[in-house]
């Protein structure tokens, strides 16, 4: 029931998360890199952004997160970091992420559960 922006560069994972989110009833827009993701955040006004950290093209997930939080138009959008880096949770939360999940340790239902939890807080 919500608009979700998924920024993830791996094709297969992108398709997987999109399917999970669509099954749960959400509308999903996708991007492969930070630049495109930021543009889509501006144009589509999603309710939640699922953000990978290791991204191609010069902007990594933390850069994107920072820019989202610095722009008055996008600063209130909840951001859930979806990454395989285990050690950066505190940094991410400091920059303004609302959640931090380690992909390889989180099963699909748990991803959906967290999304639901964050959407309910908006």
């Amino acid at each position: 029931m919500a608009k979700i922006l998924l920024i993830e560069d791996d094709e297969i994972l992108q398709a997987m998360y999109r399917k999970q989110l669509q099954s749960a009833g959400h509308q999903v827009t996708t991007a492969h890199d930070g630049r495109t993701g930021l543009d889509l955040a501006q144009s589509h006004h999603p309710d939640l952004v699922l953000l990978d950290v290791m991204l191609p093209g010069g902007l990594n997930g933390f850069d994107v997160l920072e820019q989202l939080k610095n722009d008055p138009k996008t600063k209130d959008i909840a951001v859930l970091i979806l990454t395989n880096l285990e050690t950066e949770e505190k940094v991410a939360k400091q920059i303004g992420a609302s959640g931090y999940l380690v992909k390889v340790k989180t099963r699909p239902d748990d991803v959906i559960a967290k999304v639901t939890e964050l959407l309910s807080k908006v």
């Binding site: 791996d10 994972l13 997987m16 999970q20 699909p108």
Partner: protein, 601 residues
């Protein structure tokens, strides 16, 4: 004793300085005020020869300003257990004592020192630089040679601290008048390079034999090395009045031993020998090659020439190990080549102990491991990157199979259910293995980050239990907590969760009925957390292997496999946080209780 080595112009025996207990067996007055004393060294078999000299120490307080030890030349060795020395009776208390010793009053004899043949056929010029009592062996030597070979130029620099007390001057004058190829100069005071240069300048590449007190030998050696006199043209002998200095000279004797030089000079590894103060006495060519400094630059200097770059506690540990504990120090350090570049070396430093069990110096070997370290670093980085890269496809496999089994892609044919579930289990295990590899490589590279904070341990336990409960329910087992007192601890909460996950996860794996209970207890300044299960237990014989790397108990029937890294990683983490982890209680068929501790805040 046969000569051990000959280097063309000197032939001499290799010897070891020993200390003997001896009693006087005979005193004879050979002529007016000249006495001959025979010392009985039995039951030791002596290695002395006439012409060598020894130090004789009377082991009691005697009122003599020169102390209780003197050097004497050995005149003869009537059988292998006795030596005879001759001296002129003087006014010294020492000599008085010596003449009145009873046979049961033992003296200490140090030696042998000094014995050289002036070879009959050689024509290489020789310069003897002799200080004080060192003249005695020189005279012994000369007296034993039939005559000084007329082809060979022999010079003597005879240094004395006091003009009046120079013995043998008459004999020297006599020797000079009988041999046109011999000359000597008597010097009062310290031997200078000018003295040496003046005497040796007219000789064609002479060899040098230096004998005298430690200070004299060291300073003459320094001049000779500095002026490029090659190692094989030098022989040194030191002697001194105190046992301390006798100890110090031991190392110098070793490095002058020809056999030693042959063996060590061309060794593959950097080898350096120092005296007890760390002054370099010897360095082989590999050492020179590795450090960039020539042996001349190194001798007389200390290893700080290319080292000294580590922190204070490193050196403290080094000295304690070799000096206080007399043990070999093994470590890795950073060195600086003469050209300024840095390299990493594995170093082993051992104390050199002589036959009297005294420490006389140190021997250090170094191996350049810069390449090795680079490869290790690359390996660590590779494992780290690979482990991370592996996570992406693993996430996909694990996630997609879960979704297929959940019916996201349509109803699953019942024939496919089991194999897909097996794939799911396998991928979960694979993820676990990759995690362990990544953790292990981080631990080994020292890159595991610990962020310490204060938190309630009960909260962390409750949270972890909540997360793991569904897995227990699925297997029909209980997961409970008891007596969770409100106490705060200091540690990295994520790592504590990992340890709990590991222990509870292990219990889950090895339990088929009953369940797992987590409890805690405050013990002194630490909090102990217990994970108790009603599982299959661990046999006593297997218990010692639990926390090692890749330890896995032999899989019996129904025993699930693990990566074998979990407990090892948990132990590292517990230790790093100031706690520990152990098996509290267990036996075959009786369940297990694991425990770990963490400091109270």
């Amino acid at each position: 004793m046969e000569p051990v080595a000959q280097n063309g112009h000197f032939s001499y025996t290799s010897y070891r300085m020993n200390i003997y207990k001896a009693g006087v067996s005979r005193v004879k007055e050979v002529c007016e005020s000249t006495f001959e004393i025979e010392f009985d060294l039995s039951p030791d078999l002596i290695e002395f020869k006439a012409g060598q000299y020894v130090w004789v120490q009377i082991p009691k307080e005697i009122d003599d300003p020169k102390g209780n030890i003197r050097a004497f030349s050995i005149v003869s060795t009537p059988d292998e257990k006795n030596i005879r020395i001759v001296f002129r009776k003087g006014t010294s208390n020492y000599k008085k004592h010596l003449l009145t010793l009873r046979p049961d009053e033992k003296v200490l004899i140090f030696g042998p020192f000094g014995f050289l043949n002036i070879p009959a056929q050689s024509d290489i010029p020789v310069v003897f630089i002799v200080g004080g009592v060192g003249i005695a062996p020189f005279m012994s030597m000369v007296n034993h040679a039939t005559q000084i070979n007329s082809k060979q130029q022999v010079r003597l620099i005879y240094a004395n601290s006091r003009k009046e007390s120079a013995p043998y001057l008459e004999q020297l004058q006599d020797l000079k008048s009988r041999n046109s190829s011999f000359d000597y100069v008597n010097i009062f005071g310290k031997v200078s390079w000018q003295d040496i240069e003046k005497v040796s300048r007219k000789l064609r590449t002479p060899s040098f034999y230096v004998l005298g007190p430690e200070t004299m030998v060291k300073s003459v050696a320094a001049y000779l090395f500095k002026h490029g006199v090659a190692n094989h043209r030098l022989v040194f002998e030191e002697y001194s009045c105190s046992k301390e200095s006798l100890k110090k000279t031991g190392a110098l004797k070793i490095v002058n031993d020809q056999v030693f030089k042959l063996a060590v000079q061309s060794a593959f590894n950097h080898i350096v020998i120092t005296d007890l103060d760390g002054t370099i006495l010897y360095a082989n060519s590999a050492a020179s090659h590795m450090t960039g400094f020539s042996t001349l630059e190194m001798i007389g200097n200390t290893p700080r020439l290319w080292g000294g770059l580590m922190n204070h506690s490193f050196y403290k540990n080094l000295w304690t190990t070799i000096k206080a504990k007399h043990r070999t120090f093994l470590g890795e350090l950073t060195n600086r080549h003469k050209d300024g570049t840095f390299y990493t070396a594995r170093v082993r430093i051992s104390p050199i102990i002589d036959s009297a069990n005294d420490m006389i110096g140190f021997i250090g070997t170094e191996e350049d491991i810069t390449k090795e370290k680079e490869v290790e670093k690359l390996k660590d980085e590779f494992v780290s990157i690979a482990s991370h890269e592996l996570r992406t496809p693993l996430t996909a496999i694990d996630g997609l199979i879960s979704m297929v089994l959940d019916g996201e892609y349509g109803e699953v044919d019942k024939n496919l259910k089991q194999p897909l579930e097996d794939v799911n289990t396998s991928s979960a295990r694979l993820i676990h293995l990759v995690n362990d590899l990544l953790n292990l490589s981080r631990i080994q590279a020292g890159r595991m980050k610990y962020t310490l904070s204060e938190f309630s341990i009960a909260d962390v336990i409750t949270e972890t239990v909540q997360q793991l409960e569904p897995l227990f329910t699925k297997k029909g087992l209980r997961l409970t907590t008891e007596r969770l007192k409100k106490v705060r601890v200091r540690g990295d909460s994520d790592k504590v969760k990992e340890v709990l996950n590991n222990l509870i996860g292990n219990s889950l794996k090895f339990t088929d009925k009953g369940g797992v209970t987590v409890s805690l207890k405050v013990t002194g300044d630490k909090v102990h957390i217990f994970v108790r299960d009603t599982g299959i237990g661990i046999a006593k014989k297997d218990q010692s292997k639990l926390f090692g790397n890749f330890q896995q108990l032999e899989s019996g029937a129904g025993r699930p496999a693990g990566t074998g890294l979990g407990l090892h990683i948990s132990k590292e983490m517990a230790l790093k946080m100031g706690g520990d982890i152990w098996l509290e209680k267990s036996d075959s068929g009786k369940g297990s209780t694991f425990a770990f501790s963490i400091p109270k805040s």
